[in-house]
Amino acid sequence: MTAYYGRPQPETGKPQSVYQLDKSKLTQFEKNGDKLRFQLAPGQSVKLPNNAGSLTFDGYSRWVKLQVSHTPGTDLALAGILLAILGLMGSLFVHPRRTWVRVRTEDGRTVVEVAGLDRGPERGLGDELQAITEALRTKALTPDPPTTQEKK
């Protein structure tokens, strides 16, 4: 063990550890030109140099510091984020688009209108409208198509 002396520090409000001595404005005791060092067993005492008083080792008690924390709802949070990722994947990989075919009669002619609307971040409908038009044309040109097979 060793000992320090100095003025008591003013209270600053900053948090400090009670197990650690702030030695920045303290001076270490010296004895015979060397730093003061001594060993104490419980019950023993030592006189400090320059009549600075004495130190007595009264005894010790065992202690333990426990910190208990509890974070409820982590499973729920995990389930939530996994669902969110699934939803995200749906919105990224499912390509939302709308196509429609309108048939109307105009001046005795039948006008077939094929149109589409792309709502996704990917570019355009591609050749889907072309494919629909081709399918309609083939169907229109084939006499009596089997209706059960055409349903989807």
Partner: protein
């Protein structure tokens, strides 16, 4: 074989693979250079044809047809040479890949665990993943045009790993002893590989889109750029790759990572530099997807965000480890 022998074999295979990847890169660079030279020649011959066809109109001679033959012949010769360079590049990539795979496997055997426990191992494994994806899909999706970019990135990563990041094979630091190592790091490696591919495609998109604009303005396009898919197709490819990478990054890095951090370090999120930059990467790619989906950003502006995201990822991968110290520093780097 003993772990020491495996380690020696690995240390021999990885630098050899690096050199052969570099040779493949040179071959692919030749492919591009030949394409460039090709256009100059074709342009000159085209002018001759114009003159010749003028002459034909006046004289009715057969000069025009012979000039056209010359053009065809020159073009065919050029294309053949470009094709040869491309094929040699692909063959060399295969050879380098086999050695690379051997190097990664022996590294794992030498260390007795999955070979991504420190930055050197992560680099050689992640670059192997890039090579695997490229070689798997090169024929199905006609990705030969990515050859230069892929070999450049893989050779650069392997070279950097060998020269700057090398760590001898050894046991894991205690914090990494967990099956989360397999989940978290492999997800980071795969999505990182996809970010890299998305970044490369976006760079090529910008080049091709500029060339297409020049053609619309009446200019010409070099043969090597003609070999690229259309700018529109590459824009779509970049989106698909990044849309695949983003959920994987979200889960692997921002969900699995914090769970592992809770087990290893006692907290889910501690603003460790790597964590911060992973989040920044996530935000940039989220911005990319949002800009496309809601603001309708495409092409040039979307590609710019994708490239920024790639740089952020690279900084997170290399810069954070080398410049700042954090909890993700293993084996010195």
């Amino acid at each position: 074989m003993t772990p020491e022998t495996y380690a020696q074999v690995s240390n021999l295979l990885i630098p050899t693979a690096t050199v052969i990847y570099a040779l493949a890169m040179v071959s692919h660079a030749m492919e591009w250079a030949l394409g460039r030279a090709g256009v100059a020649k074709t342009a000159v011959v085209q002018q001759e044809v114009l003159v010749a066809s003028d002459g034909e109109q006046v004289t009715g001679g057969s000069a025009g047809s012979s000039a056209t033959d010359d053009v065809d012949e020159a073009a065919t010769r050029g294309t053949e040479r470009i094709e040869a360079a491309s094929r040699i590049g692909l063959l060399l990539t295969w050879l380098a890949f086999v050695l690379h795979l051997g190097g990664v496997v022996t590294r794992g055997l030498a260390a007795g665990r999955v070979p991504w426990g420190n930055m050197y191992e992560f680099s050689i494994t992640a670059s192997l993943a890039v090579a695997v994806v490229y070689l798997l899909f090169v024929h199905r999706y006609k990705l030969q045009w990515l050859g230069l970019g892929v070999t450049l990135v893989v050779a650069a990563v392997l070279g950097l790993a060998t020269l700057a990041l090398y760590t001898p094979a050894g046991p894991l630091v205690p914090a990494l002893h967990s099956y989360w190592l397999v989940i978290h790091v492999s997800a980071a490696a795969i999505s990182g590989g996809a970010f890299t591919v998305g970044g490369l495609v976006s760079v090529l998109y910008l080049i091709k889109a500029r060339a297409e604009r020049r053609v619309l303005a009446g200019g010409t396009m070099s043969a090597s750029l003609r070999r690229l898919p259309s700018a529109e197709a590459m824009d779509g490819t970049a989106y698909k790759v990044l849309a695949f990478a983003f959920p994987l990054w979200t889960f692997g890095v921002l969900v699995a990572g914090p769970i592992w951090a809770e087990y290893a370090w006692g907290r889910y999120w501690g603003w460790d530099p790597k964590e911060v930059w992973s989040l920044v990467t996530w935000v940039v790619y989220a911005a990319y997807l949002h800009a496309r989906a809601t603001a309708g950003w495409r092409g040039h502006r979307a590609a710019t965000i994708a490239i920024v995201g790639w740089f952020v990822f690279i900084f997170n991968f290399v810069g954070v480890n080398l410049l700042v110290s954090g909890l993700h520093s293993y084996a010195g780097v």
